[in-house]
Symmetry: C2
Subunit: 199 residues, 2 copies
DNA sequence: CAGATTACATACTTATCGGTACAGAAGTTA
DNA sequence: TAACTTCTGTACCGATAAGTATGTAATCTG
């Protein structure tokens, strides 16, 4: 999977570095809010180089989103490995705080994309919806396992408790995008865990 | 405050009707996603008429947001009048479901505006933040009163429980924007009320 | 009626959008 | 070296963005 048989002039930039720069732009400004000028300036490459390396704006966005999921959402997969449903919720809520307030970009890119791409191309909207659905399915499966294992102290439905946790995570992202500080988001996590109905 | 001393040619459209049409456009497409062509077509007026009657795009948005708050967010003020904190939460959660899935527009305009206006003019962002802050402050005050009245069964902090409820409402709006059905949002409300820590 | 005032419709402005044609530069292969 | 391939930089494309100049139509005041 490495660059062998490189014919022609080699490219002068690192595609992964450029993609990471594009991710930051999309993350902060959303898909439609990020112009090609914003992107090329942040990536340090020219417009034709961008198209040659990544296809077009939509393809670039999807590749940036792949990178985001791989780097920033790794904690979700790890969080689901906690031994109890409470541990999962705890990991998800506190992990989200790090992701949405940690770096230079605020909020969850998935939430930003889902909310701000209402008038984008349908193919892009479908892609975003597919990613959201995939994450939700993983959470539902984990919650169903917790129910089967008797974690919950009250009758619980896997899809409902998942949508509940998801709403909290999404709301925290909205608040982070609005400027909420880490401590303020910790209040949300603490309130949620104070009433969490499982071991 | 009525139209007296009308000199000159009278306008041929109802400004309130046109503003309601503009609201629907902003609600579904966001501020930046709504073009003047979208707006004028929906409002049934021409571009110069729009500028004469409402100022410019940003001023039109603010007036549309005023209308939104007056019409669609009236339930918030009513919800805060419930006798107990549980009643407030119940009213807010179920009222939100009606607002975000009720009509032709999905999601909460405040959430859409806050998330999708990251690259809009600062004056607009400040306006949105001011509105969000105002709603949160009203909720904090109500929750503090509930705490003082002994509604809560566990030690509770007004700002924390407010941010928690707000996160749920915002998350429900995100899910509604992503196509969630009324029944799916009811799962969120039910899960939240099942663990709600007050009378 | 005449004049002032305001609204309407067409057509335009400048700026920016995503995307690309083209020519030259920088490598590999023979 | 020559031929080939691929990348880079400039300068451009048509479409659309927000906003407006201008002439005309409709109403009120005198």
């Amino acid at each position: 999977m490495e660059k062998l048989a490189v014919r022609g002039r080699p490219r002068e930039f690192d595609a992964q570095v450029a993609l990471a720069a594009a991710l930051r732009v999309f993350w902060t400004k959303g898909y439609e809010g990020a112009s090609l000028t914003d992107l090329t300036e942040a990536m340090g490459i020219t417009r034709p180089s961008l198209y040659a390396a990544f296809g077009n704006k939509e393809a670039l966005f999807k590749q940036a989103f792949d990178l985001y999921e791989a780097e920033k959402l790794a904690y979700v997969a790890a969080a689901l490995n906690a031994p109890t449903a409470r541990g999962v919720a705890e990991n998800l809520l506190y992990g989200a705080i790090d992701t949405v307030t940690g770096g230079e970009c605020r909020g969850c890119m998935g939430v930003i994309a889902a909310v701000a791409c209402q008038s984008a191309e349908p193919s892009l909207r479908n892609d975003i919806e597919r990613r959201t659905e995939s994450a939700r399915k993983a959470m539902i499966d984990r919650m169903q396992r917790a129910i089967d294992e008797g974690d919950f102290t009250v009758p619980t439905d896997a899809e409902g408790i998942t949508r509940y946790v998801l709403a909290l995570l999404q709301g925290m992202s909205v608040q982070a995008g609005g400027g909420a500080k880490r401590e303020e988001l910790q209040q949300v996590a603490q309130a949620a865990l104070a009433v969490w109905p499982s071991r």
